[in-house]
């Protein structure tokens, strides 16, 4: 049994697949932190009485000086860029992952944990512990690239998949632990969606145009509740078959699209597909994009 499990976990995969995941997930994290710089600067200057540290930020008894929190966030962007490009990966990747962990944990230390940010941090931390820069690394030519055995890479991709599946499974279990099977009747989800839209209203924003008329039809929410739990508790099925994994990824994406439409809550990591990328073959997508770009460049040169 253990031998079978080990053989499955260490099944071979190309170095380029793991490298493509490093580039995609690293680029997402880099852009995400850079795009959030306004929010990061604002939260660094919030009233110290509102500081409620979570995770690694619990080592602090009081908030950092704003300039230091902002400097760490800026360094995080630079480090994550180097992570994405694979520069000095063995040294840079762990430092970049810790910088991301700190930056986003600190942002979450002001009374509200953003569940939209957990998985990207877990993925980056995991990637930092893997040989994800053995291919497609800046500064290395094809001949100097240090590609190992294909068995060196499959486990890392499975680990990313396992982390994605685990987070959805936990979300499903939390619903059963907190509300029990009553969660399935749809009333709690309906109330939650109503509360969320009301909160939008109380903070000067418009509620969802679709949610408000839908609240008058409770039976819809029974279907939504059952669907949500099936998706979340069914996440471990992604390990059974590739097609099942793809089908799960599409339905989980649709779930997040529904959350966006009904609650105006954006989960960018799954909505943009990055959370589900380890379930696919991103190196093929990257090659197609590169080939398309090369064709475009040739046409452009030909027309000049």
């Amino acid at each position: 049994m253990i031998a079978k499990l080990s053989k499955w976990w260490f099944a071979p995969a190309p170095a380029e697949r793991l490298a493509a995941l490093r580039i995609a997930i690293g680029a997402y994290a880099t852009i995400y932190v850079a795009a959030r710089s306004g929010e990061l600067i604002a939260s660094a200057q919030l009233h110290r009485g509102s500081f409620a540290p979570v995770g690694v930020a619990r080592i602090l008894r009081a908030p950092l000086p704003p300039w230091l929190a902002i400097a760490i966030a800026a360094a995080c962007v630079a480090l994550m860029l180097a992570f994405t490009l694979g520069i000095a990966y063995r040294v840079v990747a762990p430092v970049a992952a810790v910088a991301l962990l700190w930056t986003l944990t600190y942002r979450n230390a002001w009374g509200q944990v953003f569940h939209t940010e957990d998985l990207v941090v877990l993925h980056v931390l995991a990637l930092a512990c893997t040989p994800a820069a053995d291919a497609w690394t800046l500064g290395r030519t094809r001949t100097t690239t240090n590609r190992g055995d294909p068995r060196d890479y499959g486990w890392a991709i499975r680990l990313l998949v396992a982390l994605t599946a685990a987070t959805y499974l936990l979300a499903g279990i939390a619903k059963l632990r907190l509300a029990g099977m009553a969660w399935l009747d749809g009333e709690q989800l309906r109330n939650q969606i109503a509360v969320d839209n009301a909160r939008e209203l109380l903070f000067g924003a418009a509620p969802s145009r679709l949610a408000v008329p839908l609240l008058a039809h409770p039976s819809w929410f029974t279907a939504f509740s059952v669907g949500t739990l099936v998706i979340e508790l069914g996440a471990p099925l992604v390990f059974l078959h590739r097609r099942l994994a793809h089908a799960w990824a599409i339905t989980a994406w649709a779930f997040h699209a529904g959350v966006l439409v009904l609650m105006h809550i954006v989960f960018p990591y799954p909505l943009l597909g990055f959370a589900f990328l380890p379930l696919f073959e991103p190196e093929r997508i990257a090659r197609r994009v590169a080939a398309g770009l090369a064709r475009g460049m040739r046409r452009l040169r030909g027309s000049v």
């Binding site: 919030l46 982390l163 279990i173 509300a179």
Partner: protein, 153 residues
């Protein structure tokens, strides 16, 4: 090498699933119990937030950004925390909100900020909201916890 990889895999998956051993409401980051959307809710909802008042005393909800963060949930947590802490936290928060209101041309009709605790029947609140009109619905009971003027130079 294989042992190291097994240990890394077990450490990450084990740490993530360790949330199962915590109280579901004892959330963390990035090891979360994912309590969002899981807690039982009724249609009655109590929230702390800020209102802007014009010179006729007519109030409307202020955008989250006037709290110091554009994130609605974080803004709600800031007001809740300040209301629980009382005047020593409400006074500087109200003053900071008033400064942001004064700097926003879209809020130039507002002359005062009120931080309130409101209790609403959310279905009634949403049903009373005209399409596209944020904050025009009749609101439920609101108790003012702090107030301060909007000072413009």
């Amino acid at each position: 090498m294989a042992l190291t990889r097994i240990l890394i895999s077990l450490a990450f998956v084990g740490a993530t699933l360790s949330a199962l051993h915590r109280d579901p409401l004892d959330d963390g980051f990035p090891i979360s119990t994912y309590p969002m959307f899981a807690q039982p809710r009724t249609t009655w909802f109590t929230e702390d937030y800020a209102l802007g008042a014009d010179r006729h005393g007519v109030t409307r909800p202020l955008p989250a950004a006037t709290s110091g963060t554009g994130e609605v949930l974080q803004a709600a947590a800031l007001y809740e925390d300040a209301v629980h802490a009382g005047g020593r936290q409400l006074a500087p928060l109200c003053a900071a909100v008033a400064r942001r209101v004064a700097a926003d041309p879209a809020l130039r009709d507002l002359v005062a900020v009120r931080i309130v605790e409101g209790t609403h029947d959310v279905l009634a609140l949403l049903a009373g909201e005209p399409r596209g009109g944020a904050g025009r619905a009749p609101r439920g009971a609101e108790h003012v916890r702090w107030g301060c003027p909007v000072v413009r130079e």
